[in-house]
């Protein structure tokens, strides 16, 4: 196999005869390979982030939310009750065998006060399941318990930010917060750890920000605040009657989620006319997101493939020029005993050396994707901090994640590009008549 080694040596020598030209040709492949790895890594990073946000909703859950129906469906006078009812909650939680647990939620905008500090926030009436479903963690104290719910205790749990802003450096546990709108006091029994917002997915669910929440037992909320809520807004008072804002069902087996969702929808078919609920199945969103991600990556991969193609055409172009330029050398080699396949081998080795050089350096550069993106972002944060703050969340947080298959893939592709785009120039070189090639000036 020494002829291969010799040919490779020769190829490198021949390429070294025109260092700049070879370098520029390599650059074409380098950019192609690096962009394959980079684009795939970045799009996977974005996809992973979206998927992680959806997963945080829980793949085994079904969420039924009350939405405000279109105004023409509401009766002109008085208040029309709408949305989910406690009766429906009982129906869903007891009659569907695949449902493991059910969580009713009632949410209200309220003002909270401690001493002279007032804060607007969200009052959430819920059951202990809320803690688990939303993957919360306690910083101090305990979450709402079943006993507290049952006894309609006036206890509450604060989110980390709420606790910090209302109590500053005081320990909130055991203190009372005041709800001016209801002239009511609640004992703080627990404080949560900070928790990131969940995704706004598919347009059917707004992003949930847990940072301004105060949690109380849902039965307490029902008893002390009731279903009708009046809000004064620019002089007039508006009201609404809602029993529950959301029911979250957890299904025992993930494989049952879709069937259960169908069942839930048929059980709640009476709401179809009012259009006052929506059923969100995170699993479906997850699958949607996966498809979207696959499409996105395919698209990015295609863009990168185009740059590889351009690199390959660059190789072919330069090799065609080289073949013409080296016609005489080909003639000499043929006269000295080189067969057609020796000439083909020589030129294919040269194109492969070019494309592999581009491939390997491209892969090395591609591996730097993560640190490079983070570094660039850190620099941009220092130099253009204001502009950076305006950029979308995804630009500020995305973590490129290198697709493992893209490394051998890129290597293979660069080799194939070298061979494919080398074949035509090489056969053209080999087809030359040695006599005419020798005469070539």
């Amino acid at each position: 196999m020494n002829i291969w080694l010799g040919t490779i040596q020769l190829g490198v020598k021949s390429l070294w005869l025109h260092p700049l030209r070879s370098l520029l040709t390599v650059l074409g492949i380098f950019i192609g390979v690096a962009s394959v790895i980079w684009l795939l890594a970045i799009s996977k990073g974005i996809g992973d982030e979206a998927q992680r946000q959806i997963e945080s909703l829980g793949a085994d859950t079904i969420m039924i939310r009350t939405i405000k129906p279109p105004s023409e469906k509401m009766s002109a006078q008085g208040l029309t009750p709408y949305g989910l009812t406690r009766e429906e909650f009982d129906l869903l939680s007891t009659s569907i065998p695949t449902v493991k647990s059910a969580l009713p939620i009632r949410e209200l905008r309220r003002q909270f006060q401690y001493r002279d500090r007032k804060l607007d926030g969200r009052l959430v009436g819920c059951t202990p399941e809320y803690f688990e479903v939303n993957r919360m963690e306690m910083a101090d104290g305990h979450f709402i318990s079943d006993a507290e719910n049952f006894s309609m205790a006036t206890n509450c749990v604060l989110s980390a930010k709420m606790a910090e802003r209302l109590f500053w450096h005081e320990d909130p546990i055991g203190k009372r917060i005041y709800l001016p709108e209801n002239q009511d006091f609640y004992f703080v029994v627990g404080v949560l750890k900070p928790k990131g917002a969940t995704a706004a997915v598919g347009g059917s669910m707004a992003a949930q920000d847990f940072s301004n929440d105060v949690y109380i037992p849902i039965r307490t909320l029902h008893q002390r605040i009731g279903d009708m809520v009046m809000v004064s807004r620019s002089g007039s008072r508006e009201g609404e009657i809602i029993e529950l804002n959301q029911i979250t069902l957890r299904v025992a087996e993930v494989s049952d989620v879709k069937r259960t969702a169908d069942l839930v929808e048929s059980a709640l078919s009476s709401h179809e006319k009012m259009e006052d609920i929506s059923v969100v199945v995170p699993l479906e969103l997850l699958e949607q997101a996966r498809t979207t991600r696959a499409m996105f990556m395919l698209f990015m991969g295609m863009i990168a493939a185009i740059s590889l193609l351009v690199g390959g055409i660059g190789i072919m172009n330069i090799m065609l020029a080289t073949v013409t330029e080296r016609t005489r050398e080909i003639g000499i080699r043929r006269a000295l005993g080189a067969k057609r396949r020796d000439i083909i081998r020589q030129f294919l080795v040269e194109t492969s050396v070019l494309s592999l050089a581009g491939g390997i350096t491209g892969i090395l550069f591609g591996l730097l994707c993560g640190p490079a993106v983070n570094g660039a972002r850190a620099l941009a944060n220092i130099w253009f901090s204001e502009q950076m703050a305006d950029l979308p969340e995804v630009v500020r947080t995305v973590q490129p994640s290198i697709v493992p298959e893209s490394i051998p893939g890129a290597f293979l592709i660069s080799l194939i590009v070298g061979l494919v785009f080398g074949i035509y120039p090489a056969t053209r070189a080999a087809k030359m008549n040695p006599i005419e090639a020798l005469r070539h000036e």
Partner: protein, 256 residues
């Protein structure tokens, strides 16, 4: 492939009724119209002829770069005329030593690597003996000090000497030299011709294509072509050769 009708022992090559026709558009050009001659081992033949005489065509045939339309070319016991492209390439790398008018060294290779090119295409890795032989050949042509030089760093005469060393590396049946002195001044021409004479005296067969009478007179034998046929084939007497050598040296321009 051996043909018992011909006794090939003792011959570097034998040309038998060689014809070559080219078809150019509708016209058929008959470049060789039946040429026959033998080249015994150790001979020194100059092939002459005006342009259009079929000289270049014959050279291409002898160099196994092209195949005759009919007739045979025997190299050893093989008829080259029947061979395919790959077999011809093998013959070229194993049995023929080329020397060209324009040296035709490969620019990206050093002197010693250029000398080794024919061995490279024999498909085997270089043996130690072959390595030593290529260095020995470089020394023989006076370039032992320049083994790692590139062709661009050498003068024309030096390049031609590298080419001669290259033509010997495969221990060929004959050296086929195409106007080897055409690009050289008279002093370097003399160097090269003396080198050929030395090689011939050592037993090497040389076939030299030239249009210069002064060069052809230095060979042992002159074959002249005209219109695709052999015009004449005669031996140069020892006196003619010596006189030509003396004349060349006497008329060499004095270096200022």
């Amino acid at each position: 492939m051996s043909n018992p009708k011909f006794e090939t022992d003792g011959f570097a090559c034998r040309v038998v009724d060689m014809k070559k026709e080219y078809v150019l558009k509708s016209e058929t050009v008959r470049a060789l119209r039946g040429v026959s001659f033998d080249v015994p081992e150790g001979d020194y033949v100059a092939i002459m002829g005006p342009s259009g005489s079929g000289k270049s065509t014959l050279l291409n045939m002898l160099g196994c770069l092209d195949k005759p339309t009919s007739g045979s070319l025997w190299l050893g016991s093989d008829d080259v005329a029947t061979m395919n492209d790959d077999q011809l390439a093998d013959i070229r790398s194993q049995r023929i030593g080329f020397v060209f008018q324009s040296y035709n060294l490969i620019q990206q290779l050093t002197v010693v690597e250029n000398i080794q090119v024919p061995l490279f295409y024999q498909g085997k890795s270089l043996s130690k003996a072959q390595q030593l032989r290529s260095i020995e050949l470089a020394r023989m042509v006076g370039l032992a000090e320049r083994l790692d030089h590139r062709p661009t760093q050498l003068s024309g005469g030096q390049q031609q000497r590298v080419a001669i060393a290259r033509s010997l590396v495969n221990d060929p049946f004959f050296i086929l030299a195409d106007e080897p002195t055409g690009n050289l001044d008279s002093r370097t021409t003399e160097e090269i011709l003396q080198l050929f004479e030395k090689l011939n005296n050592e037993g090497r067969t040389i076939i030299l294509v030239t249009h210069e009478d002064e060069v052809s007179k230095r060979a042992k034998r002159v074959v002249r072509l005209k219109d695709g046929r052999l015009q004449w084939d005669r031996q140069n007497s020892q006196e003619v050769r010596e006189a030509a050598a003396k004349y060349a040296i006497d008329n060499m321009p004095v270096e200022v």
